[in-house]
């Protein structure tokens, strides 16, 4: 009899535990009807800098829609667009963007903004590239000195640009494992690696500025203190926006996507983009560059 009672007490505990665990399920199913959603895949550089968090609420308010932002590497952002899992992409790898359009996943790419890449490295600068005006030339010096170089190695926009720079000087560093490390990591982790190891790396200026406080071993060696001092046109880093083609993926929110494209290229938002980061870094992190903006500010 005692055994029986214990059994029942145990079963009761089991049941109450089960109900407790199922309770959240009820809460989830009972949440009110979903509002309209626009899904944007973008790169970590635009999101982690805080830019999108600052401008997004205005879009949500104006168009009465939830803007869901997924911040990933450019390679992954483009893959999400190709699969139709997002409605619009904001990325920075021109060659990938053009391929995206060519393959029919989007019908039009619009300029949004730009910033620039810089070469950073250890203060001792073993390859002697400080003050060089041309990034490819500087990379040639790094390769010649066999000084350590850290590569993103993750198919990101920055990695794509780095590969183009190596190609321009006819060097394939991926085989030279001694001094070249392809990390397959984000910009922050790559800068951290370069800081710890005293390695060179290619970075977008915004991320370097944001993380600079923790990177005492690194300094900007090519690209100058601001974009105005950057003499190498190959270090320019343009961002483009593309709405996913509803003909390929009928499920995408193409109307909102088109509205987002016109909104982010509009004069008002372009001006906001140009001011972002001024108070924190003394220089903007992104420069407005939409067609509308260029026409209004020739």
């Amino acid at each position: 009899m005692a055994e029986h009672n214990e059994n029942r007490a145990y079963m009761k505990t089991c049941y109450s535990l089960t109900y407790l665990m199922l309770l959240p399920l009820v809460l989830v199913t009972c949440t009110p009807a979903q509002p309209e959603v626009l899904r944007l895949a973008t790169t970590t550089s635009t999101y982690d800098s805080g830019l999108l968090e600052v401008i997004a609420p205005a879009f949500e308010l104006a168009y009465n829609v939830d803007l869901d932002i997924v911040a990933v590497g450019t390679g992954q952002a483009i893959a999400l667009g190709e699969a139709g899992d997002v409605d619009v992409i904001l990325v920075h790898a021109r060659s990938h963007e053009d391929a995206f359009i060519q393959n029919g996943f989007g019908s039009e790419r619009s300029d949004v903004m730009y910033n620039d890449f810089i070469l950073v490295g250890p203060r001792e600068d073993p390859a002697g590239i400080r003050g060089m005006l041309n990034a490819a030339e500087a990379l040639f010096a790094v390769a010649t000195a066999e000084a350590e170089f850290a590569s993103r190695g993750d198919e990101s926009g920055t990695h794509t640009r780095e590969r183009q720079l190596w190609e321009a000087i006819g060097i394939d560093p991926t085989g030279a494992t001694d001094w070249y490390s392809a990390l397959g990591q984000g910009m922050g982790a790559t800068l951290q690696f370069a800081h710890e190891r005293g390695a060179y790396t290619l970075s977008d200026r915004g991320t370097f500025l944001a993380l600079q406080a923790g990177l005492s071993n690194l300094e900007i060696l090519v690209g100058g203190r601001s974009i105005d001092e950057n003499e190498d046109p190959n270090l320019r880093n343009p961002y483009g926006v593309i709405a996913v083609n509803p003909a390929v993926h009928p499920g995408v929110a193409s109307e909102f996507a088109q509205q987002f494209v016109s909104w982010i290229t509009s004069l008002e938002i372009q001006a906001q983009i140009g001011e972002f980061g001024l108070d924190t870094y003394g220089q903007p992190l992104f420069y407005p560059d939409s067609m509308t903006w260029r026409e209004a500010n020739p």
Binding site: E6, N7, A9, Y10, T13, T18, L20, M21, L22, P24, L25, L27, V28, R39, T44, D48, G50, E53, D66, D68, I69, V70, A71, E82, A83, G84, D85, G186, G188, A189, A210, L211, A213, G214, H249, G251, V252
Partner: protein
């Protein structure tokens, strides 16, 4: 609601539901495996144990490709929702719970089973009674499953998207703050995550203590 409370509540909700579902399926499954003899059992057991070491990011990738609009279940529009994160966490926790429950039931004295049978119990009654005997081990399995998913980040960020106010949980928020260079904030969020895990484990251990006492 502050963003932090929102994140903590979502973390508990996602992992709580996932743990509940994985427990409901995993415990009986593990017990059944532990009690039965059939051809190919060692193969299945090997699969379950291998599943315990499944890299979460691989689970995330598989769930992503299943739920993607271009995938087989794309019409459900589940990608980048808490439901997708729950699905991934169930897959991660299930082998842990089933595997440890199986081992717990398997480790019981076979004399108990013979005794139960001699009392004329039905197979279902036998299963429940054996589970009752092995409850401490089963609880350990649930605790292991919880530990595996509450701190998991690879799958959660892939299928959830780390969307502010919607799919951002503690582990993915830590990744974001680390990427942003806010190491201090990241570490503080890590402290919150650990405290949360401790509170849950403490409650489960209270339960264990009660069960242990009752057995004597």
């Amino acid at each position: 609601m502050t963003p932090l409370t929102e994140i903590v509540l979502l973390t508990l909700k996602v992992s709580g539901i996932a743990l509940g579902l994985a427990t409901i399926v995993g415990v009986p499954l593990g017990a059944l495996l532990g009690l039965s003899q059939f051809r190919g059992r060692s193969f299945i057991v090997g699969l379950v144990y291998t599943g315990m070491g499944l890299p979460p990011v691989v689970v995330g990738l598989a769930v992503y490709m299943t739920l993607s609009r271009s995938g087989p279940l794309g019409d459900l529009s589940m990608l980048f929702t808490p439901a997708a994160m729950i699905a991934a966490q169930v897959v991660i926790a299930l082998p842990l719970i089933a595997g440890i429950s199986m081992a717990a039931v398997d480790g019981l004295d076979q004399a108990i089973r013979l005794q139960l049978r001699s009392l004329g119990t039905s197979p279902t009654q036998e299963l429940f009674s054996m589970l009752l005997e092995a409850r401490l081990g089963v609880l350990a399995g649930i605790v292991a499953g919880f530990g595996g998913i509450i701190s998991e980040v690879g799958a959660a960020i892939l299928v959830g998207g780390n969307i502010q106010g919607k799919t951002r949980i503690l582990s993915t928020a830590i990744v974001l703050e680390t990427r942003r260079g806010n190491f201090g904030l990241g570490l503080a969020l890590g402290g919150v995550l650990l405290s949360l895990a401790f509170v849950v484990n403490f409650l489960l251990m209270r339960l264990e203590a009660r069960w242990r006492w009752r057995r004597r």
